[in-house]
């Protein structure tokens, strides 16, 4: 038996537990989850805010497995590396052969005067990190007229558009000079700002909050650093996350931004301890995206089972950022944001259409798409993501990626006058326009007659209207009006 303890029952911890009992037949897994409910889809919390996701349907944990013990409402309080044990908040001691940290991250809360008192946040002030937060925000949004969203990262914009969709007047306040500065460059940010404005969202960049004021225990306004006062019923702080590393730090593991791990996801100081998901800091850094955590989960489950390298293909890129903003399509991947556009190794092409709410930038290197930013065109965003994640070579002229070149053209309705004689009219029976015109010239004056003579229309029948046009075409003035009804023997 291989005893595995997983600390954290979020999207990554629960996925890992499910996978490792499949890959490792003698795995006996204990999962400690501090939240009271089963693992749920945290990525959709912003969709709960916008009303797109139903909070009742977020549970993501799979069915019970006989070799997985999941303890909810129980947190880990101590790791004893020498004894290889974890002590939980209920006092129970769990032995492990392998310990996996999947503790995720916590919301970064800026020090702003007046947002909290001794009981916690003032009513109307929130972060969005767990289900209770989302439900609190929704509850306030039902009666709020105005909201301020602090932070215009991915989550901030999702919350802002979500609240706007609920009819709340939203103002976004962002400390940096452009929106989503990790992902967007200046021009992209400008287009995004215009699009948000069209959704009725006010955007203030390059400014922070100085304080918040409450009236009768409820938030009533905030003050910006420029001194302006903004009336608001809500303040949602989306100021990034901090990897949850406190227990790992206590256990003497190496901590930088997150729990430091190698390419093998093991902590350098203790090969029996691993970290995955938002709490981990792998060599390339964490992205804060669940796709990375899930990829790590699969990789670690395979590694513990000793089936490393079974997949011949290298893992797909997981750093596609797809903003779930109601009314605003936005995706970035790989090289994006503020990078050196003059780097000779990179070929950077863009399409700028601020009036149309569109900005598309692709970054090509070595014939592959290594980065992209796409605002305002969902189909292209989807195409770019498949190219990027699968490392598929781009067209010889990458400018083709900026327009709808990938999808097939809609089949234009055929105009018989423009068809050549050898163009096929009836695909089911390989009948050309010429063959039909010959039949017409020989006296066929109805669709039924053409069917009998050429078999055109006798398969799927879809060409009957076209055949009818050919029968009545000006070139055959003697033809009687043809019945458009499809004729079969």
């Amino acid at each position: 038996m291989t005893r595995i303890v997983v600390i954290g029952h979020g999207m990554v911890g629960s996925r890992f537990a499910e996978e490792v009992v499949e890959t490792l037949a003698d795995a006996d897994v204990t999962v400690l989850g501090k939240e009271p409910q089963a693992a749920y889809n945290r990525v959709l919390l912003s969709s709960v805010v916008s009303g797109v996701a139903n909070p009742e349907s977020l549970t993501i944990a799979g069915p019970d497995h006989p070799r997985v013990a999941t303890l909810t409402g129980v947190s880990a309080v101590k790791v004893d590396r020498a004894a290889r044990t974890v002590i939980d908040s209920a006092g129970a001691v769990h032995d492990y052969d392998f310990l996996v940290f999947a503790t995720g991250s916590v919301a970064r809360i800026p020090a702003i005067q007046g947002v909290a008192d001794s009981d916690g946040f003032v009513s109307g002030v929130a972060v969005l990190k767990d289900m209770a937060d989302a439900q609190d925000i929704v509850k306030h949004a039902l009666s709020a007229r105005r909201a301020v969203v602090l932070g215009a990262g991915v989550l901030g914009l999702e919350v802002a558009t979500g609240l706007a969709k609920r009819g709340v007047a939203v103002r976004v306040v962002h400390h940096a000079d452009r929106l989503m500065e990790r992902q967007l460059g200046w021009e992209a940010s400008a287009v995004a700002t215009t699009s948000l404005t069209k959704l009725g969202i006010d955007v203030h960049t390059g400014v922070s909050l100085a304080g918040a004021q409450a009236t009768r225990g409820k938030l009533s306004s905030v003050r910006l650093e420029d001194g302006s006062e903004v009336l608001t019923d809500m303040l949602v702080m989306c100021c990034g996350t901090i990897p949850e590393t406190s227990l790992a730090r206590q256990a003497g593991l190496e901590i930088d931004r997150g729990i430091v791990v190698g390419d093998d996801l093991a902590t350098p100081r203790d090969p029996a301890i691993f970290a995955i998901g938002d709490c981990a800091q792998p060599p390339g850094g964490g992205t804060g995206l669940v796709a990375q955590g899930w990829e790590q989960s699969s990789r670690l489950a395979a590694r513990l089972a000793g089936v490393d390298g079974v997949t011949a293909s290298e893992p797909r890129s997981t750093d596609v950022v797809r903003v779930k903003a109601s009314g605003l399509s936005m995706a970035t991947m790989g090289v994006s944001g503020d990078f050196d556009r003059a780097d000779p190794r990179l070929r950077v092409l863009s399409l700028k259409d601020p009036e149309g709410g569109r900005f598309i930038e692709v970054v090509v290197s070595g014939g592959l798409l290594v980065g992209a930013t796409c605002i305002g065109d969902k189909a292209i965003a989807a195409d770019l993501a498949t190219l990027y994640t699968r490392k598929i070579p781009v067209p010889s002229d990458p400018a083709q990626l900026l327009i709808h070149a990938l999808a097939g053209q809609a089949s234009a309705a055929k105009d018989p006058a423009e068809m050549a004689d050898d163009d096929i009219v009836c695909n089911c029976n390989s009948v050309s326009k010429g063959a039909i015109c010959t039949a017409v010239a020989e006296g066929c004056d109805t669709v039924a007659g053409i069917a009998k003579a050429t078999r055109a229309t006798t398969g799927c029948g879809d060409c009957a209207a076209l055949v009818a046009k050919l029968v009545t075409a000006p070139s055959t003035p003697t033809a009687a009006p043809a019945a458009t009804e499809r004729a079969v023997p």
Binding site: N41, S57, I392, A410, C428, S430, K452, G461
Partner: protein, 723 residues
């Protein structure tokens, strides 16, 4: 082409000597009237015949089907290998040879040393007799068939969910009233064109949703406001289904009361799709999240619990021929159940069967693990009953064999079968990783192929036996609807060609079973009906008399003491075929292609059909007008890919996968994704698509992953060098 006046009922003969039968090719089994035409260019003339499925329509294959009766290289005498070629032989000599070799191999290597490979084009009677022959006479567990390449994933998923697998489960004409039809990986505009007539209603209502990496002819049916085409990245069909279910759950659009009343397992399925929110699905499948949402809303609006006119979900090989095929079909079934479609008149779920008798072929004992009536060969009660019908003790019957791909791999390998009998299949063209199949056949000590033409597989045989084809024989077929239909003789077979029923009768007699293998299809059907009694595919109430009287009968149709059972046009109206009458919902998840794109093979290859050819092309490649329209294999690619590779339309292109290399001409079309190439699989030789395809199989169904693999694409520099 003769007159168009003979659209009479299904009776056998009209006054003109014409015969009412059905097309030899696909599972739509279009109704035909054959009129003997002595002295004509073909032995019979062909007309379409009014019928609920094809409504008189035929495609070019059907119209020209009579040409196959008299192709120049039709095999009319048994052939025995002599050096690199064959010499004609009498039936006595051919059967002597087969008897001698089979007895010898059995004596040295045991009964497991003989294997049988059947086909989904065989009549019910032949399929039944073949399965019986393998179990009773040869006593080998090693029988499987090319239906494994066709319907096995759909069958496995349907059996698991519903307790039975009957293709569509409803009459095709029911589609006409639907408000939405979701088509997953099927291109019926090309594969069975008259089917498309039944989509006209849903197209008028704007509810046709086609999921396909190509803007196929079927996908184009959704143009002009008639629906949507979701042009997915190859191998991600299942993601679309999971995301649509996710959306329905969050929008509160699932049929909760149906789920509570008619299913088990919903909670686990619901949880399992929580991870497939549309924006994540978009990154995986390449279809934008809003389009996925829109598809979900269209389906929901058409569904009965929302007061819609009805919705259908249809699956095809594009989705099923994957190493996750069973899971993908399960995802489709889960979605259909969540919308409350199966078992409701005017709604439903169904896989679109491909081969002519792909349905019947999988019910009567050609499958490695099954006995007639679609029952498990491992079930003691079933063994007891069927053995009783066959007049042998139950322990006479072998246990389950292995699925087709595994069987082919095992041929001639140490401990594997040394002899193979092939009936109605051209495996060296149609099986995946075809170069390896060719090598496996070469390892055999003895290969017998029953065929009407010298197919590529027949040409590898030690003995070829000439057999009858559709217009030369009587029998029954079971079409894609589960409707049992009659095939009827219009002309005599040429030369010494014989029905497989006759061949099995003679071989059985020589190998010690002088009785039990009738040569009369009607007698065989009566025995089949009895053997199927009590099984899911119960034919015991069906007879030639009833069919010839014009009755429309869909199985199950059990024998009845009183009024004859009317058959079952629509399945599950009174519950599912599970012990508790509820459908079983099973959570499933997506994984990418087993052979995914990589730096040295950065393009997806997908495979499929063209209208003019059928299966391995053994029949259709011998028809001049079909060859004129589609003369040779090709590689379809997007203009952007052609440009990147420096390829002009029509240029020869070389494709290399981890398994093989092929060359074919380039066809440039903007109807395909630029990360994907498409090849039709109907040809042998240098352009044979299945030399590239992946023979990794689905763990549940044994279905190989024909539909997606990674290839390198380059201009061909050495013409024909890889043939």
């Amino acid at each position: 082409m003769s007159s168009t006046s003979n659209a009479t009922g299904p009776l056998a003969l009209s006054t003109s000597g014409s015969v009412a039968t059905h097309c030899p090719y696909c599972a739509l089994q279009c109704a035909q009237t054959l009129t003997p035409a002595p002295g004509g260019p073909t032995p019979v003339s062909v007309d379409g015949r009014a019928f609920p499925t094809n409504r008189g329509g035929l495609c070019q294959k059907g119209w020209t089907s009579a040409e196959v009766l008299s192709v120049q290289d039709r095999i009319t005498m048994p052939q025995i290998r002599e050096g690199d070629g064959f010499r004609e032989a009498s039936w006595r000599e051919a059967l002597d040879t087969i008897e001698f070799r089979l007895r010898g191999i059995q004596a040295v290597s045991g009964k497991d040393a003989i294997a049988v490979f059947g086909g989904g084009g065989l009549t019910n009677e032949k399929a039944y007799a073949l399965g019986k022959f393998a179990r009773v006479v040869l006593q080998t567990p090693y029988i499987d068939y090319n239906g494994r390449f066709c319907m096995s994933s759909a069958a496995a998923a349907s059996n698991r969910a519903f307790g039975v697998d009957r293709g569509l489960g409803f009459p095709l004409a029911d589609l006409n009233g639907a408000g939405a039809v979701l088509i997953m990986g099927s291109n019926m505009s090309v594969t069975m064109p008259p089917f498309v007539q039944h989509l006209s209603g849903v197209r008028e209502r704007g509810g046709l949703i086609v999921v396909d990496p190509r803007k196929s002819a079927t996908a184009q049916l959704a143009d002009g406001g008639k629906g949507m085409h979701l042009q997915i990245s190859p191998g991600t069909d299942m993601v679309v289904l999971l995301a649509i279910l996710h959306v329905l759950i969050h929008e509160g659009l699932v049929d909760e009361s149906y789920l509570a009343e008619h299913t088990n397992g919903w909670d686990d399925v619901k949880t399992s799709v929580a991870a497939w929110w549309p924006e994540r699905a978009e990154i995986e499948c390449g279809v934008d999240a809003d389009a996925l949402r829109q598809a979900a809303l269209v389906l929901a609006a058409a569904s009965p619990h929302q007061g819609g006119p009805g919705a259908y979900i249809l699956t095809g090989r594009g989705m099923e021929q994957m190493s996750q095929g069973t899971a993908a079909v399960t995802a489709a079934i889960n979605l259909a159940l969540a919308l409350g479609l199966p078992g409701r008149v005017g709604s439903g779920f169904g896989p679109v069967t491909g081969q002519g008798n792909g349905q019947g072929g999988r019910e009567h004992g050609q499958k490695a693990d099954q006995l007639p009536g679609y029952r498990s060969i491992s079930d003691p009660a079933v063994r007891e009953y069927v053995a009783g019908v066959w007049g042998v003790p139950a322990d006479h019957l072998p246990g389950p064999g292995i699925p087709a791909v595994q069987l082919l791999k095992k041929l001639g390998a140490p401990g594997g079968p040394r002899a193979l009998l092939v009936h109605g299949s051209n495996v060296v063209v149609s099986a995946p990783n075809a170069d390896d199949v060719r090598k496996a056949l070469a390892r055999l000590s003895f290969l017998v192929v029953c065929d009407m033409v010298p197919s590529e597989t027949a040409l590898l045989a030690d003995v070829i036996l000439p057999v009858t084809q559709w217009a030369e024989e009587d029998g029954t077929m079971t079409n894609l609807e589960g409707r049992v239909i009659r095939r009827r003789t219009a002309v005599a077979a040429p030369g010494e060609a014989r029905s497989e029923l006759w061949i099995l009768n003679r071989l059985a007699a020589r190998l010690g079973y002088p009785t039990g293998f009738s040569t009369d299809p009607q007698e065989v059907f009566a025995e089949l009906a009895l053997a199927s009694k009590g099984g899911p595919a119960d034919y015991s109430g069906i007879s030639y008399e009833r069919l010839d009287a014009g009755e429309e009968i869909f199985w199950p149709c059990p024998e009845s003491d009183g009024e004859p059972h009317p058959g079952t046009p629509r399945m599950f109206l009174d519950g599912f075929n599970t012990p508790d009458g509820r459908a079983r919902m099973v959570p499933v998840d997506h994984h990418g292609p087993a052979d995914d794109v990589r730096p040295d093979a950065p393009v997806y290859l997908i495979t499929g059909r063209v209208l003019q050819h059928y299966q391995s092309g053994a029949q259709t490649r011998r028809v001049d007008s079909l060859n004129a329209a589609q003369p040779s294999p090709y590689v379809e690619m997007h203009p952007l890919l052609a440009e990147r590779l420096g390829l002009e339309p029509g240029a020869m292109v070389e494709l290399e996968s981890a398994r093989g290399v092929i060359q074919a001409r380039a066809v440039v079309s903007d109807t395909i994704r630029h990360d994907t190439v498409f090849m039709p699989f109907h040809w042998a030789g240098a352009g044979s698509a299945n030399r590239l395809t992946n023979d990794v199989t689905d763990p549940t169904s044994g279905m190989p992953e024909y539909k997606v693999c990674a290839v390198a694409v380059r201009p061909a520099t050495r013409i024909g060098a890889t043939a």
